[in-house]
Symmetry: C2
Subunit: 354 residues, 2 copies
């Protein structure tokens, strides 16, 4: 794939690394590639970050034919920029695309596009501890047509956003709300795909949870409403009676890349890992008998998010005394160590940008 | 609500009314209104139809926070332009908005916006038999922010598209594919809302059905996969043993305005109308015993779409000999008559544009 590069003539001032927050500052450039039926993906280019000009009839505004990915670039103490398993994002992109009738992108091209645009804006990768450059690849349907059908044209775009440390001072456990009214996704639906509709469906429960003082929502399955699925933007793990347990991939949850990495590491470390159905009842019982030893979310944003409190209807389970458990801490140190280049990359998870 | 009107300086040529098709020709103007947190909806205006300029980080591209509506303006033989029950679209807009955490729009403002923009472009309403001006109101989330949360800014836009006669020569019965693998929506989800994600989820089954020679998909419930829900963009009705039967509104299907009108008319005409669960098994049995007398879809696009053939796995049910049933025909005549001004509007369903 040939990528044309047009550099900005008006570079922006870099932001203060102490106040990056998440998702609202964007770098100088973006990657863009178009798809046209009969022609395939074409015109791969890095251009100055700028507004998109689209017909108000563009399908993405009406029928939600869109997908996205999320990964990060980390600048190690050695000054080198690293990506964590970007080929997994490329694979997941195509899984999402297939469900949404969006044409696939060759995996090498996806990774090449990410590397190229990050490399052009590499001075934007922050270096303060815990910071990173968040990378948001996404695809939108652009046909100006109101019939409900797969679009014949698309744009694949990658934007970059320097983002602050997720944890200001150590891993702070969060409180999580197990949602019993609204449903995010169901088997046969598109829960396993990273697409707008799944997030649009989740907003109302998130607002409810926030109003009640919980920071995230944990979803139950849409059929029986009793099996644990995943958190708003994280997969979920439990340590029950010494074993690491996480909901199996059943078509309605996102196959998280952090999830996959955590399973791999835990197995290496000799833990028994079970991917299976986990019911709320099982959790309530494990909690009562003192066997619910740890609970943590996994995702690109925070890597590991220890859960100190789980609410289900009138039950509030406090886990590991509301503190961080040892397995959570060990995984966090290992993965962030690999990402930052201070721990050995034994499994070949790192792709260097240059 | 004050609506500013800026007329185009470059009016487009009107299209050939014999070849309008659907959803790809747009008029000279559009309605736009913005929402800003703390300020509410503001700056209602009619402007020349033009591209939208949005940040690539605009939430609508990532998290599908978007909703739409669909209705039509009809020009009667008396030359007057009519809307059919636009206040129902206003109500449904707010039901969708509530589920999607989008701020509501006062119902009068919604109807006023529709009337105003249609009135500015009233010369675009085609007059050939069966043609109409399709009206597409929609709302998109515009915050340039990658956090998953309700947007703080939105655009409400109405675009207009002259559209051709749905039926070239009389009501042609369609073949419909009952989908047994993919699911469109589930209770607790957002099936009752008119939002992009529901349509994005439906594309894959539609492609499958088309490949098999069926024009539309009929969805089953996401929990038991045995109860009839609705068609891709229509509600569904059956005449079983003399009664008119349609799936009840259960939270996972769209409360169609045509559906509501059909129920009202059938009751007026003395039919027993049942809104309840309808299983595929019931249909298969009714068909075997000769009691499945008619089947038709209802929606703004076609008003009534007779179903001649229903496929479920290996069973193909041929209904009323693949012809149009008398109830379908009567409803079609009545509703299109009211819309065109040739039948009396006894129920106050018509709003005149001027
Ligand atoms: C719904 C959902 N589940 C899980 C995850 C975790 O996936 P990953 O580990 O690939 O970031 C995410 C996203 O980041 C998500 O949006
Ligand atoms: C999913 C779905 N069901 C039903 C309908 C029919 O609704 P209405 O009669 O309001 O057009 C539509 C839309 O037009 C639809 O998109």
């Amino acid at each position: 794939m040939e990528i044309k590069i047009e550099r900005t003539k008006n570079p922006k001032a870099k932001p203060d690394q102490k106040n990056l927050g998440f998702g609202h500052i964007f770098t100088d450039h973006m990657f863009v590639m178009n798809y046209t039926e009969g022609k395939g993906w074409h015109d791969a280019r890095v251009v100055p970050f700028e507004n998109l000009s689209l017909s108000p009839a563009a399908m993405v505004f009406h029928y939600g034919q869109e997908m996205f990915e999320g990964l990060k670039a980390y600048k190690g103490e050695d000054g080198r920029a690293r990506l964590f398993r970007p080929e997994m994002n490329a694979k997941r992109t195509n899984a999402s695309n297939e469900r949404l009738c969006i044409p696939k992108i060759p995996e090498e091209d996806f990774v090449e596009a990410v590397r190229t645009v990050v490399s052009v804006d590499k001075d934007w990768i922050p270096t303060e501890k815990g910071t990173s450059l968040y990378i948001r690849p996404f695809i939108i349907a652009t046909d100006a047509f109101l019939g409900v059908a797969p679009s014949k044209t698309y744009m694949f775009i990658i934007i970059l956003s320097p983002s602050g440390a997720y944890y200001e001072s150590g891993l702070a456990p969060v409180g999580i709300w197990i949602e019993d009214e609204y449903v995010r996704a169901v088997r046969g639906g598109m829960g396993f795909a990273k697409t707008g509709g799944n997030y649009a469906a989740s907003l109302i429960a998130q607002v409810k949870a926030h109003d009640d003082g919980y920071s995230q929502v944990l979803w139950l399955d849409g059929v029986e409403r009793k099996y644990i699925e995943e958190v708003g933007a994280m997969n979920i793990f439990f340590k029950i009676d010494g074993k690491i347990v996480t909901p199996m991939l059943n078509g309605s949850i996102l196959p998280g890349i952090t999830r996959n990495s955590v399973i791999t590491l835990c197995k290496e470390w000799g833990y028994e890992v079970e991917e299976r159905k986990v019911s709320v009842d099982e959790l309530l019982e494990a909690q009562k008998s003192g066997k619910l030893e740890e609970c943590f979310g996994t995702g690109t944003a925070a890597v590991i998010s220890p859960v100190g409190k789980l609410r289900y209807k009138d039950d509030v389970m406090v886990i590991s005394g509301g503190e961080i458990g040892p397995v959570s801490a060990r995984i966090y140190d290992e993965i962030t160590g690999i990402q930052g280049g201070t721990k050995e990359d034994k499994l070949g998870w790192i792709t260097f940008v240059d």
